[in-house]
Structures are given as structure tokens and as C-alpha cells.
């Protein structure tokens, strides 16, 4: 009988312990986390991009429109004076597809530590070790496949597909596929693969967080900048396709590195209010 009472006491005791461990604690500790929602926005000439609208003019003077953008961002790191936080969720890979609105927000449900942050580093595309053939088997990510013979073992997927139309020199509306990924150069019967992913570090200011906050952090892709600065992108010269044109891909990559991305207005939502 005594044994039964002890068991009962043990069960009740463990239950109380489990319940009390869930109680909110207002004391801030070094392990406090905030929620992070990263919004991926696509801008044209400083405003939200209007898709399927032939209203944009690039640096070369080409009138163009964008129909869709699909791309990978990876290895996002937040850095501050006292803290560096790397996202581990989903292997720190996120796929954005303007045809799938829900992909425009990446909710970091694992949270990030409460700290002051002064920059965000992102990788455009996928680094070699994350870009292995067959990594993604489910759509939509799997539909980003980059052919093996022009990408090799570590060139499994497009970094980005940006599709649209431009008005050519003969005033005809022509399709273009601004597709970026691993490059290939053939010389003397040998194929050399060139990793084109890049990291970019963007300044920001996140401070005075408390643990019930949600940080809404907009990462903006400035579409027109991918077609200018430092390389002027003339669709009439480059043509509609670039996947096997490493020189053209490099031009686009250099443009993207320069000012293809920026940080929008950061919002901090305090759920205590």
C-alpha cells in the first residue's frame, strides 16, 4: 500500500513539475529568444515590383517586364557587437517563389537570441556543399534543378530563375530567362565548373529587443540593379539565355553583389502591449 502511495506521489510530483516548468518567466536571460519573420520583397525602381507589366527600363535602355522570380537564399547570419546568430532551421535554406505567395515570408520559429544586431549576411543561391545533385526531391524546390552536365556534382539547382520579356531593337516583345547557377567553361575538351553563389552583408539596426518581440525583417531584392551597376545589361546584346554563358552570368552576379539586395524598414512587434 505504501508503494502505491509513493508511486502516486511520484506521478503527481512529476506532473506538477512538468506544468510549472511551462510557466512564463519575466526574467531576461542570455537564452531569451525573439521570433523572426524574414519577408522577401521584390522591388522595381524603389516600389513593389508590378509583375507582367511592361513598364520598367533598365540601364541599357531596354524596356522590360518580369513575370516571375524563383530563387534560393541560404546561410543567413545576424551579427551584432556581442552576438552572431546563424539560423539552423531548414539547414538555413529558404526558397522564394513569386508564384507561391507564402514563400515570401520565412518564419524562423526556432527564434533568435535577444541581442543588438547591426548586419545581416545572406548567401544568394546555395554554396557548393548545399547544392548537391538530388538534394531536393519535392517541388517546388526540386523544380529548380540545374542540369548536371553544366553544373557538375555541386551545381544541382538554379540559384535564381528570373523570367520576363523585353522589347528588342526591332520593337518586338522577346522572352528572357535570367537564370543564375553554377557556371561551366569548356577548354581543350575539359569542363571547369565555377561556383557563382555570393555572400552579401547588409547593414541594419536591431536593438533593445525583449523576449516577447517579433522582429519583421524585410530583405529587398532590387530587380533593376541586377541589370546595371557595375555591368550594364543589354538584353539585345546578351540575348534570351545565359545558363552556359559564364561571362554573362558573372556580369549578373557582380551586379547582384553590388546592390541587388537591401534591407527594408524593420518592424519590432511587442506582444506584451
Amino acid at each position: 500500500m505504501i508503494t502505491f502511495k509513493r508511486i502516486l506521489a511520484l506521478v503527481l510530483g512529476l506532473g506538477i513539475l512538468a506544468l510549472t516548468s511551462c510557466k512564463d518567466d519575466d526574467t531576461k536571460t542570455s537564452d531569451d529568444l525573439v521570433m523572426l519573420d524574414i519577408h522577401f520583397l521584390h522591388y522595381g525602381e524603389g516600389q513593389p515590383l508590378l509583375f507582367d507589366s511592361l513598364i520598367y527600363v533598365n540601364e541599357a535602355g531596354n524596356k522590360y517586364e518580369v513575370t516571375e522570380i524563383q530563387w534560393f537564399v541560404s546561410d543567413i547570419i545576424l551579427t551584432g557587437p556581442d552576438k552572431t546568430t546563424s539560423i539552423t532551421q531548414n539547414e538555413n535554406i529558404h526558397y522564394i517563389d513569386t508564384n507561391i505567395p507564402e514563400t515570401s515570408t520565412w518564419t524562423i520559429s526556432e527564434g533568435v537570441p535577444v541581442a543588438d544586431y547591426t548586419s545581416l549576411t545572406l548567401t544568394f543561391g546555395l554554396k557548393d556543399e548545399k547544392n548537391t545533385v538530388g538534394k531536393f526531391t519535392d517541388p517546388p524546390e526540386a523544380n529548380m534543378i540545374w542540369p548536371f552536365h553544366i553544373g557538375g556534382d555541386n551545381g544541382g539547382y538554379h540559384y535564381m530563375k528570373l523570367n520576363g520579356f523585353w522589347i528588342d531593337v526591332e520593337n518586338e516583345r522577346q522572352p528572357f530567362n535570367f537564370h543564375l547557377g553554377v557556371g561551366s567553361v569548356e577548354e581543350g575538351g575539359e569542363t571547369t565548373f565555377i561556383q557563382n553563389w555570393f555572400e552579401v552583408t547588409l547593414p541594419l539596426s536591431i536593438a533593445q529587443l525583449s523576449k516577447r518581440d517579433t522582429v519583421v525583417l524585410p530583405v529587398v531584392m532590387n530587380v533593376e540593379n541586377w541589370f546595371g551597376n557595375p555591368n550594364t545589361w543589354d538584353h539585345d546584346v546578351v540575348g534570351p539565355k545565359i545558363m552556359k554563358n559564364q561571362t554573362a552570368m558573372r556580369m549578373g552576379i557582380e551586379n547582384g553583389m553590388t546592390d541587388g539586395f537591401s534591407i527594408g524598414n524593420i518592424e519590432i512587434i511587442n506582444h506584451e502591449e
Binding site: 519535392d138 534543378i145 548536371f148 522577346q174 522572352p175
Partner: protein, 384 residues
């Protein structure tokens, strides 16, 4: 004393919960889908119709049983297999003994709105069914006026199950009634016990009929073509096939952006520059209402493409050569053409005759000969 009672009740509950009733009632056996490393892991199986061995077996019988039409006269039999022939990769194909044009006609003699799509690897498609993607998990619609399915809450338009009851009542297909079908199937002695094995009782109803057929269809998987064997390192391609593969997966021919991946389709929707005038009410625009979806249709899987002609939603191309010729120099621009059709200024990719031969040689490596006679998918031998 009070504590003893509480403890006894607690332990008793644990005991009961731990035992369950698995020893008492044996349910249907879960069906195990093969783990194919290069195919999607996300299977399109609705939560209310999990696949079981018994459900699949029943579904296979119904798939092949012409009495699914709700009729018993020899001239009035029709089932899924009437149009979807195993020897043609579960498509209608060029050489259908009855539908010689490759376009099926229903029991009332009228043509289906579109040519058929093959019933292969559907379990991996999470992006809607039909050429226009009308049947899709998020479709809130009940019934379909166009297909004569009543707008009743149990007639959802979400998955393969929906396609079965549409097929039964559609005037362009079986042109029957759900009541007739249920009546006839329930009176065939072999079926009530099979329904009991699959669903727990001998009751025959339309929900169970559609669920069983959908379960069977989901098990039809094709991954044993020469190309898939090549991926698995089990065989090599000829020089022509290799050149064709390189063309397929290059921007020169640029097939892969729509038909890429190991399923040979993205299952996405495109206007592939076939037309400049659009009159078909069953295009993607008919589903979404988005003007940019005018003349837009699904990019079908190319697995078994050698057998699944005529091609395109309207069967306009009778041979693979005609398809390749079209992509080489037959494109027509419209405001709705997808930008992946980037060779529009030259009406196509401008392939040489040798390149066309190579591309077709590669396309023929996508034929899964084992599927065509696989007994798991064949008509049950005891079904007349």
C-alpha cells in the same frame, strides 16, 4: 483509501490504453509505397483515404470492371481501363482498338473535352490533376456543372477520388448515375466481401468505390525506364540517346525547364506557344480566372511518352516527330506565351534533323517496358 481507488483507476486506464483493440479487430493492411530516392517524398494521399492492400485490390477490380458504368449489357460497359490502357502507359495511345484517333468517346458517343493524360505516378503530383489543374486539394468547389456532378457537399473536387465520380456521371464519359453504379456493383457477389476487407463492412457506396479506385491508381508507379535505370547506374545510353539527353537538359532545346526532374515534369502550367487564338473554355484560365493563364496547360510527364500520343491537350500532334518539329520551328507568339519559350523570335529552337533524331532517341528511353505488363497493375485474371 481514496488514493488507492485513484491509483487503481489510473493503472486500469493505462492497461486498457496500452492494449488497444488490435488483437480483437484486424483492420486492412497499410500499403507500403516504394522508397525511390529520386522521387518526391511528399505523397498526394488524402488523410481520409489512406492506402491499404485490400483497398488497392478492390480498386484494381473496379478499375477494370466495365460494370462501373452501372450497366451490364456488353455494349454499355465502361470503366477507367476503357480509355487508360496498361500497354500504353495507362493512356489511350495511338493504337486503341476503339478510339482510333486516340481521343476517347463516352458511352453517349461524344468526345471528352481534352485528350487523356496517363494515370502514372499521380501520387507524386501535388499540383492538381487534369490538363488545367481543376482537381486540386485547395479547390473549394463542390460538384461541377460542366461535368454534371451535383453541387453536393460530398462531391468535392480535390483529388483522384473526385475524378472517379466525375467520370461516372459526365455525359462525355460513362454518362451514368451514381445510384445505378452503386446498385450494379453491390449486386455482384465478389464485391461486398471485398468492400468488407477494405472498409470494414459490406456496404457499397460511391465514396468507397471512388476511394478504392483512387487507392489503386496511386500505386501505379513508373520508374523502370532505361533512363531511370541509367540514373541508378544500371545501364548506359547509346551515343545518340546521350546526345539527346544533353539536348533535353540544355537551354539549346530547353525541354527540362518544364519537363525536368526525375518525374520528367514539373507539373507546372505553361502557355507553350501553340496558338495565338484561344477558344478552349477548359484551359488554366477557366480555373483561375487569371488572364495570363489563357491557353495555359499542364506540362505532362514524359515518362512513357513514346506510347502516350496523340500529344498536347487537343491531340494535335500524332507523333513524337511532329512534337519535336513544333518546338523546333512551329512556335506562335501571343500575349500569354510563357517566357521559357525563349526562341519565339525564330519560331522555335531550330534543331537539325540529326538533333531531332537524337532527342527522339532520348525520349524513347523514357519508356518503362516493365510497367506495360506488370501484373500488379493488370486486369485481374478472374474478372471477365
Amino acid at each position: 483509501m481514496k488514493n488507492e481507488i485513484l491509483l487503481s483507476a489510473f493503472l486500469g486506464f493505462l492497461l486498457l490504453a496500452g492494449c488497444g483493440d488490435s488483437e480483437v479487430q484486424k483492420g486492412p493492411t497499410p500499403y507500403e509505397f516504394p522508397g525511390i530516392f529520386y522521387f518526391p517524398k511528399d505523397l498526394n494521399i488524402p488523410e481520409d483515404n489512406l492506402t491499404t492492400e485490400e483497398g488497392v485490390l478492390l480498386g484494381r477490380y473496379l478499375f477494370y470492371d466495365g460494370r462501373l458504368s452501372g450497366r451490364t449489357h456488353q455494349d454499355s460497359l465502361m470503366s477507367c481501363s476503357s480509355c487508360h490502357l496498361q500497354q500504353n502507359g495507362f493512356d489511350t495511345g495511338f493504337d486503341h482498338p476503339e478510339f482510333t484517333s486516340g481521343r476517347p468517346r463516352g458511352l453517349a458517343g461524344t468526345f471528352t473535352p481534352h485528350y487523356t493524360l496517363p494515370l502514372v505516378n499521380l501520387v507524386y503530383n501535388t499540383n492538381g490533376y487534369f490538363w488545367n489543374g481543376f482537381i486540386e486539394a485547395s479547390n473549394p468547389q463542390y460538384g461541377s456543372e460542366a461535368h454534371h456532378v451535383p453541387a453536393e457537399p460530398h462531391f468535392h473536387m480535390k483529388n483522384i477520388e473526385s475524378i472517379v465520380w466525375m467520370t461516372i456521371v459526365d455525359p462525355n464519359e460513362i454518362n451514368g448515375s451514381i445510384e445505378q453504379t452503386v446498385q450494379v456493383i453491390s449486386e455482384i457477389p465478389v464485391y461486398p466481401p471485398m468492400f468488407k476487407d477494405a472498409f470494414g463492412s459490406e456496404e457499397v457506396n460511391i465514396e468507397r468505390i471512388t476511394k478504392a479506385i483512387a487507392q489503386f491508381v496511386r500505386t501505379i508507379i513508373s520508374n523502370n525506364s532505361k533512363y531511370h535505370q541509367y540514373i541508378e547506374g544500371k545501364t548506359v545510353l547509346t551515343e545518340s540517346e546521350s546526345r539527346g539527353m544533353e539536348l533535353f537538359f540544355s537551354e539549346e532545346a530547353d525541354c527540362f525547364h518544364c519537363h525536368g526532374g526525375f518525374l520528367m515534369s514539373t507539373y507546372e502550367f505553361f502557355n507553350n506557344a501553340k496558338d495565338s487564338v484561344f477558344t478552349d473554355p477548359f484551359d488554366r484560365f477557366g480555373v483561375t480566372g487569371d488572364i495570363m493563364h489563357t491557353g495555359v496547360y499542364r506540362a505532362p510527364s514524359l515518362i512513357n511518352v513514346e506510347l502516350t500520343g496523340p500529344y498536347m491537350h487537343d491531340g494535335r500532334f500524332k507523333t513524337l516527330r511532329e512534337v519535336v518539329d513544333f518546338y523546333s520551328d512551329g512556335l506562335v507568339i501571343s500575349p500569354y506565351t510563357h517566357p521559357l519559350m525563349k526562341y519565339i523570335s525564330t519560331n522555335g529552337v531550330q534543331m537539325s534533323e540529326e538533333q531531332k533524331d537524337d532527342l527522339i532517341a532520348f525520349l524513347k528511353t523514357l519508356t518503362d517496358h516493365q510497367l506495360l505488363t506488370d501484373p500488379r497493375y493488370a486486369k485481374p485474371s478472374d474478372l471477365n
